[in-house]
Subunit: 113 residues, 2 copies
């Protein structure tokens, strides 16, 4: 009986750049909930600078815009996820979960180790 556990990290690339991985998706979901990049970063315990850099590369790498940002105004501005971004988040999360299930099955099949 094996109590080995199998773990994974997956990410999607385009060219040489990373589009989304677990960290980016976590950030994007926080943005979706908060409507603000700075608030999202604070909520997930990430520095604003790092969050900004991640979102910037995500937006530049993706084929369509993932977030739209506004600066100034009554609320100071904000960041919202585009419909494309929402599809991207959902796609990543479903693939990720499916991957976990698949890997658990794979390890189970080799219960000799």
């Amino acid at each position: 009986m094996s109590n080995y556990k199998i773990k994974s990290r997956i990410w999607i690339e385009l060219g040489d750049n990373v589009l989304v991985g677990e960290g980016r998706v976590k950030l994007l979901k926080a943005i979706e909930a908060e409507g603000s990049l700075s608030k999202a970063a604070k909520v997930i315990g990430m520095s604003y600078k790092k969050a900004w850099t991640l979102v910037d590369t995500v937006n530049k790498t993706a084929k369509e815009a993932v977030v739209t940002k506004t600066v100034g105004g009554q609320k100071g501005g904000g960041t919202v996820i585009t419909p494309y971004g929402k599809r991207l988040i959902e796609a990543f999360e479903t693939i990720n979960k499916n991957c976990w299930i698949f890997l658990d099955q794979q390890l189970k099949e080799l219960n000799g180790i």
Copy 2:
């Protein structure tokens, strides 16, 4: 048509320790080929110390010994992979390849993104 690429890293844990991942398996295969930890480290461009630490944790984490080491003697000693270690390497590599195939399929199914 999507030219997004999906990538992954998988590893096997027991408790809080990592047993094997891509780096460790690469090292173990080099040991298998060289019969020596120091030569294996040199071949794959890894420092001896890091290689030693990795092999040490692998051996302490696994349920059975993965390598056996000898010190001194005509050839100075050496490190060889046990039969269990060979099964472990093969198991990891097959799961890893299967994971790649699985993920490519998953991404293909969502060719809307």
